[in-house]
């Protein structure tokens, strides 16, 4: 019972403080991982991939996934309800004075600071994934070989994916699911997991 309450509360907080949609919930999920150990950073990265490749809002998908991983089917329902409860309450309140809210000076000023902060939080979450996949501290500690510290195959794939998703005009408009699927195939062929 306690885990359900805690799950609801953690996602309520994410729903209340994550601003700017989808990816904005990511830093909160890392925070939950740090605090509770319910899931690892690696699992979170997998959840992001699944959430991007399936229909529905990314933030909702991630909440459902985390909830399921933590506490099964009731967990997925509770985490999702926790995430959307603050939205429902806040939106129902401001629906009454929509225009006044949008044009309010203080709301606009707050968002001047909130937008770069949200970007910074997502960048930090992305950095965690980057550090996780690029640096193999354990392998380096075991062998003492500096070449084992950085994962070269991952670095190459990273550069190639960046080219196709952000530089190459022909492919950068494609849906993320295309790149996720291609990465899965490459991972299988070249045994990226080392198994």
């Amino acid at each position: 019972m306690m885990i359900y309450l805690q799950l609801f509360f953690e996602f309520f907080k994410a729903g209340l403080f994550a601003i700017g949609g989808g990816m904005a919930t990511l830093p909160f999920l890392y925070d939950i991982s740090d605090k509770t150990g319910w899931f690892t950073y690696g699992q979170l990265a997998d959840m992001v991939a699944i959430s991007e490749s399936t229909p529905g809002p990314i933030g909702v998908n991630m909440a459902t996934y985390v909830g399921f991983t933590t506490a099964g089917i009731p967990g997925s329902v509770i985490a999702t309800l926790g995430l959307i409860t603050p939205s429902i309450i806040i939106i129902l309140i401001i629906a009454g004075f929509l225009k006044a809210f949008k044009d309010n000076k203080y709301v606009q000023h707050a968002f001047y600071g909130l937008r770069p902060a949200s970007t910074g939080l997502i960048a930090a979450a992305g950095f965690s994934v980057f550090a996780l996949i690029m640096f193999h501290k354990d392998a380096y500690a075991a062998s003492g070989n500096i070449l084992d510290l950085v994962s070269i195959p991952n670095l190459v794939l990273l550069a190639v994916l960046y080219y196709f998703t952000a530089v190459c005009k022909k492919t950068k408009g494609l849906h993320p699911v295309v790149f996720i699927a291609a990465s899965a195939v490459i991972g299988i062929i070249f045994q990226f997991g080392g198994v």
Binding site: F17, A18, G20, M23, T25, D34, G42, D46, A49, I50, E52, P55, G56, P57, V60, N61, T64, V77, L83, I84, P86, S87, I88, L92, L98, K102, H109, A110, F111, Y112, G113, L114, R115, P116, S118, G120, L121, I122, A123, A124, A125, G126, F127, V129, L132, I133, L158, L161, T165, H175, P176, F179, I180, A184, G187, I188, Q191, F192, G193, V195
Partner: protein, 180 residues
């Protein structure tokens, strides 16, 4: 009663048929909510969308609550929101259960090792997109750097940064107004 059912089904369809949420959802909302059912005008929808971005929570959820509330009051707001998350609940739960059962297989582990690299790139691209809209001058650059460093290296709660950034935004803009 029929209206609530209609709201639920319409938003379930929107949730189930859009990949990526956020902006990807807008064309679908325009078609279903504005053109087909007339629950909101084009301008109202754009307003909801703009405010949905400026309020906490998921944009798609916020927009669903707005449209539902306008169409059928508080119950409508709740039902439309439950509708938009319903497909996610079903689809993700099935996939998560499936992956959990097969996560020990070498092929699954190798696939996800490749996918994690892709996720890293996708997050980076998302940050670049957000950066263009949010880091527009020196003060916003400072906010970005402080939050990034604080969050990446000190493991502080994101809530702390959100509250401080809102206060900083108000103070910085106030100073600007007074200086003029």
């Amino acid at each position: 009663m029929n209206k609530l059912l209609d709201l639920f089904l319409t938003f379930a369809r929107i949730g189930g048929l859009t990949f990526g949420g956020g902006y990807a959802m807008l064309p679908m909302l325009q078609k279903e909510v504005v053109e087909k059912r007339g629950w909101a005008s084009e301008e109202e929808l754009m307003d909801y969308y703009a405010i949905g971005q400026c309020t906490p929570g998921i944009i798609a959820v916020n927009t669903a609550t707005f449209v539902g509330q306008k169409t059928a009051g508080i119950a409508g707001g709740i039902i439309a929101t439950l509708g938009v998350v319903f497909p996610s609940l079903i689809i993700i739960t099935i996939i998560a259960a499936f992956i959990q059962n097969f996560s020990d297989l070498a092929i699954v582990q190798n696939a996800f090792a490749g996918i994690r690299v892709c996720v890293c790139v996708l997050i980076f691209n998302a940050v670049v997109k957000l950066w263009k809209k949010s880091v527009i001058d020196k003060p916003t650059l400072a906010v970005f750097l402080v939050v990034f460093a604080g969050s990446a290296f000190f493991n502080l709660s994101p809530i702390l940064f959100v509250i401080l950034a809102a206060v900083a935004g108000i103070l910085l803009k106030n100073k600007e107004v007074q200086a003029k």
